[in-house]
């Protein structure tokens, strides 16, 4: 039983960065942009968050820096795809190569200029990154451990997912955004400002991805800078959007499931089944591939990509 609870806790921790990436990409796709740059935006957020935390020793500043830099990366994507109508696939891929390169570059640049030869977060921020402890609540057996014993990023991620859900599905602005994703020309015709809305939402999505990156560099790597800390999480997030059927709420469950897959190898009792580690590492990707196939076979209307996703909107071509 203890083992199982530990497994669930580990799954939550492993899935957190995916949640940020997925929610960010959902906003992007809802505005009609298949952004393959999630990995890059996360990498830039990882770098900015870590470096801001390293310099200013403040978690709030680190998170704000991660958000802003993720949004800045998304701004490059937005300018190129919305205004300059460049190909979304190529732009996204470039953003990934650029973002990962820039993130690693700045990391190494700072390492060679540091005295110790490595970058370690200062003590104050490390204490802010530790798991929270709420009196009474955290002490409840099982429930306390499952719900009230995580670091601050986990709660922030869940709150963001819920807010984005309300924004997308319960507000007028969200409805407008979804209209743009389905049919930008119709949205334009009823007076929705398509370009402005796309910019704002791409930037918000990128910012959320950036915070997810900061989670990778600050929590997953244990407070020491490592190159490639995002390590494919952005790509899995793109896949998870499909698994979550473009719903931020389902993304919470989805990231938990994918987190569980990624830590399964440490918790699977050897007496039950022994499989090579590589198989467990492969599992999330195999499952995503299967989901892609299954959703395409079923052609379920509620689980489809926004109709204009991947197609740039040119006003004069309505």
């Amino acid at each position: 039983m203890d083992m199982f609870i530990n497994f669930l806790v580990a799954a939550v921790l492993a899935g957190a960065s995916l949640l940020y990436g997925t929610v960010g990409e959902i906003i992007n796709q809802k505005s009609g942009h298949l952004n393959l740059g999630v990995e890059g935006m996360m990498a830039i957020g990882a770098c900015a968050g870590f470096m801001a935390g390293y310099r200013f020793d403040s978690l709030v500043i680190a998170i704000i820096a991660a958000f802003l830099s993720g949004a800045a990366a998304a701004l490059i994507y937005a300018v190129l795809t919305v205004t300059f109508m460049a190909d979304q696939n190529v732009t996204g891929l470039t953003l990934t190569i650029f973002g990962c390169g820039l993130s690693n570059f700045i990391g190494e640049y700072n390492i060679t200029r540091s005295e110790t030869g490595n970058l370690k977060l200062p003590e104050h921020i490390m204490s802010q990154l530790r798991n929270i402890h709420i009196p009474v609540l955290s002490d409840i057996p099982v429930v306390g451990k499952l719900f009230f014993s995580y670091n601050i990023f986990i709660y922030l991620g869940a709150i963001i997912a819920i807010i984005v859900y309300i924004y997308l599905f319960k507000t007028k602005t969200g409805l407008n955004l979804r209209t743009i994703g389905e049919n930008p020309a119709a949205a334009d015709a009823v007076g929705i400002h398509v370009v402005r809305s796309k910019y704002i939402n791409l930037l918000i999505g990128g910012g959320i991805c950036g915070i997810g990156g900061a989670y990778c560099s600050m929590i997953v790597c244990g407070g020491v800078w490592m190159s490639d800390s995002v390590n494919g999480m952005g790509w899995i997030s793109v896949a998870l959007v499909i698994f979550a059927a473009w719903s931020p709420l389902k993304a919470i469950g989805g990231s938990l499931v994918f987190g569980a897959f990624s830590v399964l190898k440490y918790y699977m009792p050897k007496s039950v089944i022994t499989l090579p580690n590589a198989f467990y590492d492969m599992l999330p990707f195999v499952i995503t591939a299967l989901i892609l196939v299954i959703t395409s076979v079923r052609k379920n209307k509620g689980r489809m990509q926004p109709a204009s996703c991947g197609v740039n909107y040119f006003r004069e071509e309505r």
Partner: protein, 364 residues
């Protein structure tokens, strides 16, 4: 007053309109301008981090060309990039978003490595032919998977091929840690080095892959431009309905083209494993599959242009490795510069296709 304000605003209305076809000369000029702007922007980036852009750019060029050994290393970087760029071009011509070159490179490398590891006693020439064929078949079949599901169910190929990349990567890890583990590595996870009989020959000091790359460039050029298959690909890319109306079978064309696309990438994997790495490493693709997409796109899917662009990218890549020793700058600098160049070229495309119209008057 209010009317005046409205009038004033009206005066500065800028809108975007489509350009008529731009001539090749003008298009090339536009792209040259964007690349020049990109190099300047890259220089500003270098300046920002406190280095002299001229000396850094100079070091890159020198690092790639200064000695014959440096030049050979540059070509070595270029070989897999060139070949896989040609591979993805086949799929992209069909507007099939094959992001899976990484995986297809790996699949080709795995199949070729099987013979290098377990049938190395075959006569050298025969072994090379078999390994070459294994690379083709491995990569081709791996490319066929997403094409099959796309043709049958309309499965999104962008995301599907992406997943296949990671699956292929972990197959290598699995082989490395299990069945193909090198017994003499002393516990260090790696696959044994190929015996010399299973290594690709050298021509002019560089593995023979560069000749294969050049031949493939010509083949892909002819295939796309002068054969019936090439014509079918261009029709399918425009409209499946048109293709069907003309009596073509779009699904069959999609499957066939993706097999070839994967096969060419598989060749890249075989050449990299047996010619450069001399073993099957997890880094056999190492991001080349992604860079290939960018190269193919930058070259506008023209094989001859791919030859040039992949060479320039290799110069940047190889030259950047020297930056580490000269300036203490990490090689990731190459990725940043590549990104900057591409952002500018992507933006530059806009000016080839569209123009700004100010106050109803056209302006270039």
């Amino acid at each position: 007053m209010a009317e005046q304000a409205v009038q004033n605003r009206e005066k500065f209305r800028i809108r975007i309109s489509k350009r008529a076809e731009v001539g090749t000369k003008k298009a090339v000029l536009f792209r040259a301008i964007s690349v020049a702007a990109a190099i300047i922007a890259g220089g500003l980036f270098i300046l920002c981090i406190g280095y002299n852009p001229f000396s850094v750019y100079g070091t890159i060029i020198k690092g790639a060309f200064s000695t014959s050994m440096a030049f050979q290393a540059t070509v070595k970087v270029m070989i897999p990039l060139l070949i896989s760029s040609l591979g993805v071009t086949l799929a992209f011509k069909m507007k099939f978003w094959n992001i899976g070159a990484e995986g297809q490179i790996i699949a080709g490398a795995i199949c070729a490595s099987y013979f290098a590891l377990f049938h190395a006693d075959l006569p050298h020439f025969l072994l090379m032919i078999i390994m070459f064929a294994a690379g083709i078949i491995g990569g081709g079949l791996y490319g066929l998977i997403p094409a099959f599901f796309k043709a049958k169910f309309g499965t999104n190929e962008t995301l599907f091929t992406l997943m296949l990349n990671y699956i292929a990567l972990y197959v290598i890890v699995w082989l490395r840690d299990g069945a193909w583990a090198d017994p003499e590595s002393g516990g260090f996870p790696k696959i044994a080095r190929f015996v010399s009989n299973a290594q690709l020959d050298k021509v002019g000091g560089i593995q023979v892959g560069w000749i294969i790359g050049l031949i493939l460039t010509v083949i892909v050029f002819i295939y796309l431009k002068y054969t019936k298959h090439g014509y079918e690909i261009s029709v399918v890319s425009e409209s499946h309905a048109t293709a069907r109306y003309a009596g073509m079978n779009p699904k069959k064309i999609m499957l066939r083209t993706m097999f070839f696309s994967g096969a060419v990438c598989g060749i890249a994997g075989m050449v990299q494993a047996t010619g450069s790495d001399m073993t099957l490493a997890t880094s056999v693709a190492g991001g080349v599959g992604f860079t290939a997409i960018i190269v193919a796109w930058l070259a506008q899917l023209e094989p001859i242009a791919i030859l040039i662009v992949s060479f320039l990218f290799s110069v940047l890549e190889k030259g950047s490795s020297v930056m580490q020793s000269t300036f203490g700058l990490s090689t990731y600098c190459a990725d940043v510069l590549q990104g900057i160049i591409l952002f500018f070229v992507l933006a530059g495309e806009f000016f080839i296709r569209y123009k700004f119209v100010v106050n109803g008057k056209e302006r270039n």
